[in-house]
């Protein structure tokens, strides 16, 4: 019997290849120059789900993302790789959401799909590195979780059991849990497949009127701009039946008090000449003040 799988993904600014231009002079992040990408570990989570779909006939993979309209790009990337249905959860009322408010909105979206056996997330997103939204969503669904999964060893659809390898400090655990369960996936065990050429041809024009190249924090107005489309479901706050008080800024207990960019202040550096005498002098000093020796 096939499984119903839900994958939660996020579009993020590419912080791993950051350049000097990415930081504005006032210390804020210049998102405009950062390319928007599929969060790397979410791509591994999608791969884990698609791998199960490949081996268990009748399995369905649903992908959900929450974000601005440009996040449609990660949904298209999911369709190109074999997702069966995708949904963008987007509404101005979600703007400013911290991880708690995000997990609430995702929980509502998951409940709209209703039926699931495994929920997949990437271990963490590279813009915040918090690793919080997966466990927070699981708790809201009163669902068991296995985090930091490097590989799914076995899924027994008869007994409804999963065996997963979980990375821990200096080693691993093999954890067995009954379905349903939420997993967060690391980048260790799966190699994300490339897009399928046929699927790219099928879906490349999906919701083209909403796609934007650059990462943008602006949110679509749920009443005016939202257009539904066959391939990509667009869900606003009403579609997922979410309480506005628990969404966006009002549903976010954490506030950013201050942002400082990391600016290097030159220390009292002493340049030491690359000669035996100069290096011996430095070593002598370090021995004299008990730093060395």
């Amino acid at each position: 019997m096939g499984l119903n799988l839900i994958v939660l993904v996020k579009q993020v600014p590419d912080t791993q290849n950051i350049t000097g231009e990415a930081m504005k002079e006032d210390g804020t992040v210049n998102r405009a120059v950062l390319p928007a990408i599929f969060n790397p570990e979410d791509l591994h989570a999608l791969e884990a789900a698609l791998t199960l779909k490949d081996t268990i006939p009748g399995t369905q993979v649903h992908v959900i993302t929450m974000g601005p309209p440009s996040a449609i790009q990660v949904l298209k990337e999911s369709l190109y790789r074999g997702a069966d249905s995708v949904a963008l959860v987007s509404d101005r009322k979600f703007a400013g959401a911290d991880t708690l408010a995000t997990s609430y909105a995702l929980k509502c979206a998951i409940e709209k799909i209703g039926n699931y056996d495994i929920i997949f997330c990437g271990r963490q997103a590279i813009d915040g590195d918090t690793a919080q939204v997966g466990p927070q969503t699981a708790e809201k669904l009163n669902l068991n979780q296995i985090t930091c999964v490097s590989n799914i060893e076995k899924v027994d659809t008869e007994k409804r059991l999963i065996l997963a390898r979980r990375s821990i400090e200096g080693g691993y655990e093999l954890v067995q849990a009954p379905l349903p369960v939420l997993l967060t996936i690391t980048d260790e065990g799966y190699s994300p497949r490339p897009p399928s050429v046929i699927k790219v041809m099928t879906f490349k024009n999906a919701s083209a009127e909403m796609s934007e190249e650059k990462y943008d924090e602006s949110y679509i107005d749920s009443k005016v701009e939202q257009k539904s489309n066959q391939a990509i479901n667009l869900w606003d706050i009403n579609a997922i039946n979410a309480d506005p008080e628990s969404c966006g800024l009002s549903g976010s207990p954490t506030k950013v008090k201050k942002i400082e960019s990391v600016i290097l202040v030159s220390a009292d550096i002493r340049m030491v000449e690359n000669s035996q005498d100069a290096i011996s002098g430095m070593v002598h000093e370090l021995i004299a003040d008990h730093t060395l020796g």
Binding site: E169, V175, S266
Partner: protein, 337 residues
Amino acid sequence: MSTKNSVMVFIQQDDGQIAEVSVELLCKAKDLASRVHASVTGVLLGKDVRKSAESLIPYGVDELFIVEDDRLENYTPMPYTKIMVDIIKKIQPQIALYGATTTGRDLAPRITSNLKVGLTADCTDLQIGDYSSKGADYKNILYQIRPAFGGNIIATIVSPEKKPQMATVREGVMKLIEPDPSYKGKITAFKADLTDADFPSVIIERIKQEKTVNLKGAQVIVSGGIGVETKENFQLIIDLAHALGAEVGASRAAVDAGLIPKDHQVGQTGTTVRPKLYIACGISGSVQHRAGMDESARIIAINTDPEAPIFKIAHYGITGDLKDVIPKFIKAFKAKS
């Protein structure tokens, strides 16, 4: 002192061993508690943990809650979340801290999701201060300070309206204080209401390798970066470390390039270190790397590129090829000692 409004620490144990970060957090909790005039509480769950609990009181713990149950020997999320939520509801701490370990990062988000309170991940500093927003003034709020955006910014986060204010804190960033053997604190057994249904996950197998690299305890660290280029050159780093009685470190780029195993990695995604001397060889000094070593008492940078950011935080800089510099360094040390 009443334990209500306390600064609480979740104390992590692995195979009965108390995690070092939990002790670091107790020390920090003592500092924070003195600023907000509160007591320090702890929570320790596991099998036969009373002895370990007693060993922690000298760090200044006023009341330590324990739950002893064989089924809690290894961490799993469901029962731990249930107990922690019950304890927090009962004792109502104003601050609750967790190590930013695999366990802490698995557990803390579930608790905050249940209690609908804020959580900041991977803090590198915690302070107490005031906060004003929309005409409301909040006194003695926890400033939760963490790097974000790949380490390019440092954000100060507050959760002024909801209690407890929760944070996970990186290992190695909070200083240990001397324990006081005469400290008077009490241990309270908390009655947890657990059934077998609270234990859906079963750990079939648990493999942990002994740590062979001790970066955190090292007084001197010699670290190599991508500028080292080859495994043969990396041997020079190892040779210098041996000569100085130092530990071998590495940047993420060197680890990713396969020059050395990951347990040597220093930096944001590796180990945070604060040795007496840190010798950075062929390391440009990305923000991620600096975040893990910039509190070293002395830093020597050896790099061919005089513009490398590492020189901005170094105390001694040598512009040159490490193949040329390191042998001179070894020779100088052997001659002097």
